[in-house]
């Protein structure tokens, strides 16, 4: 599956701005938590930015599959490609060639209420 360079760049730029690093150093293969060091709150902030950038609403049940940059890119492409309600990411076509299919992120909220 080829990724849309515009979408990919937008997402990597958003990440780069958040992480204060060069967009070129953000790779689609990188794991949001393990490689980029985003904690669960930071992932939520990132997705908030992405929702705004692409005028999307990402339902809670879709968060679970978004563990790599590539997952996010592929998810956004999928969502922009069709108008039906979003399917869970795991059903969204071919998986990206992620470096590691590491621990499916169980977003355990560390936040205290």
């Amino acid at each position: 599956m080829t990724t849309d360079p515009t979408i990919s760049l937008k997402i990597r730029t958003a990440l780069a701005e958040y992480l204060k690093r060069d967009p070129d150093r953000i790779l689609v293969t990188q794991h949001l938590r393990d490689d980029l060091g985003l904690d669960s709150m930071a992932v939520i902030e990132l997705l908030y930015r992405i929702e705004e950038a692409f005028d999307l609403q990402i339902p809670d049940q879709d968060l679970v599959g978004l563990t790599t940059v590539g997952h996010v890119v592929s998810y956004v492409e999928k969502r922009l490609g069709k108008s039906a309600p979003a399917a869970p990411i795991k059903k969204s076509g071919k998986p990206l060639k992620a470096t590691k299919q590491s621990k499916p992120s169980k977003p355990k909220s560390k936040k205290k209420s």
Binding site: M41, I44, E45, E51, E52, Q57, K111
Partner: protein, 418 residues
């Protein structure tokens, strides 16, 4: 025997300077930090009765804090982070050598994260898009965001508390820190007072209360004039003050420089009215008396009072009445100054910044002027008030702070005997 508590570090963010050195120089010169509010972007000031405030200008947190901590919190907590960082550096405390569970943080804040708070509320009501509320909204507006982020920035794992009693918040933070160390629950407490709510809604709210000065919109420097006959309300300010409180034994062990001792504290309620003080001044006098008794001192020993003095008609007169009741003939021998004449009323930061002025009076023997005390109101006249800086030996200083909700606090500082 209860532990003695001393002040070993100071830090400040204020409308007359960021950093103790600039602040104190400007304060002694009687410099005013009150300026016109140009606009509340995106709408103009036309509809506001008051148009002046003590603003911290050109503040950018990244100039002071080189970590993500600054970006994650609202302006008031950013001020708090900067003041705490300065105070810790000033104290010489090296966190890596300390037991982190013995270092606490107690913050006084009246309004909290109103910059983001107002923005998000406005957007939600205008756009009706609940999913566009920022994910950081709750962590930012939660009133202990400053005490939390300061602890994170320095690895302070001891008691972490936030006191919110409107304008007396950080005087109580000082008092609670005193108790905390006295009782042996911490060796060091980073005490911070912070507020930054010169924001469209909060400012409008204080205007609607008819609490703010409105006659000096064209002459902002003249607007904050405690005890003066022509005062017409307080001027809002913003900022943060930080004081490192430490047990005297701990300070001695690490050979720290000691500014002063925090000797006594009292907290009372007038149980009277949400925003109006009792006009007889009895409760204010009682609060000062209790704080002095807690310090083991008598009214006859007080040399300096950092007055609450917000520049409101009733509040200033009540405070002077209370001072006369308690101190009797000594009232005119005590040096008095109103820090709010210089920086406006910084709400939750006021107690901490007034505390800094008190500690510096003890430490330097200098008392900053009360700006615009041009025509003493007979109801407020005290011989120890001056438009000029005063030099005199101060052995005992008293800090007053009163808050909406019928809330009073007084803190006593004294020269250290060691």
């Amino acid at each position: 025997m209860r532990a003695r508590v001393v002040v070993t570090g100071l830090g400040v963010v204020s409308p007359i300077g960021i950093g103790i050195s600039d602040f104190w120089k400007a304060a002694l010169a009687g410099q005013s930090g009150i300026t016109a509010i140009s606009s509340f972007d995106p709408f103009p000031m036309d509809g506001y009765r008051s148009k002046v405030a003590g603003q911290v200008r050109d503040f950018a947190v990244e100039r002071f804090i080189d970590s993500v901590h600054g970006e994650r919190v609202d302006r008031y907590a950013q001020f708090g982070l900067v003041a705490a960082k300065e105070a810790l550096a000033d104290s010489g405390l090296q966190m890596e050598k300390e037991n982190p569970h013995r270092i606490g943080v107690i913050v006084g804040a009246g309004m909290g994260g109103m910059v983001m708070g107002e923005r998000e509320i406005t957007q939600l009501y205008q756009q009706q898009k609940p999913h566009r509320v920022h994910p950081n909204f709750i962590p930012v507006i939660t009133l202990n965001s400053a005490s939390g982020i300061i602890a994170m920035a320095h690895g302070a794992k001891g008691p972490n508390l936030t006191i919110s009693t409107a304008c007396s918040s950080s005087a109580h933070a000082l008092g609670q820190a005193l108790h905390c160390i006295r009782e042996g629950r911490a060796d060091v407490v980073i005490v911070v007072g912070a507020d930054a709510s010169i924001t469209p809604l909060v400012f409008a709210g204080f205007c609607s209360l008819r609490a703010l000065s409105s006659k000096y919109n064209d002459n902002p420097e003249k607007a904050s004039r405690p005890f003066d006959r022509l005062r017409d309300g307080f001027v809002m300010g913003e900022g943060a003050g930080a004081l490192i409180l430490e047990s005297a034994a701990h300070a001695k062990k690490r050979k720290a420089r000691v500014y002063a001792e925090v000797a006594g504290y009292a907290a009372t309620s007038e149980a009277y009215h949400m925003v109006i003080p009792r006009e007889d001044g009895l409760e204010v006098a009682h609060t000062m008396k209790l704080a002095l008794a807690d310090a083991g001192l008598t009214p006859a020993q007080v040399d300096y009072i950092n007055a609450h003095a917000t520049s409101t008609t009733i509040g200033d007169a009540v405070e002077v009445k209370a001072i006369r009741q308690l101190f009797k003939s000594r009232a005119d021998k005590i040096a008095i100054s109103a820090t709010k004449s210089l920086i406006g009323h910084t709400l939750g930061a006021a107690g901490a910044i007034g505390g800094i002025a008190s500690v510096l009076a003890l430490h330097t023997g200098k008392i900053h002027p009360t700006a615009n005390y041009d025509d003493p109101d007979p109801a407020c006249a005290l011989a120890g008030l001056s438009r000029s800086a005063q030099e005199r030996r101060v052995k005992v200083a008293l800090l007053n702070a009163f808050g909406f909700g019928s809330n009073n606090a007084a803190v006593v500082f004294k020269q250290t005997t060691t």
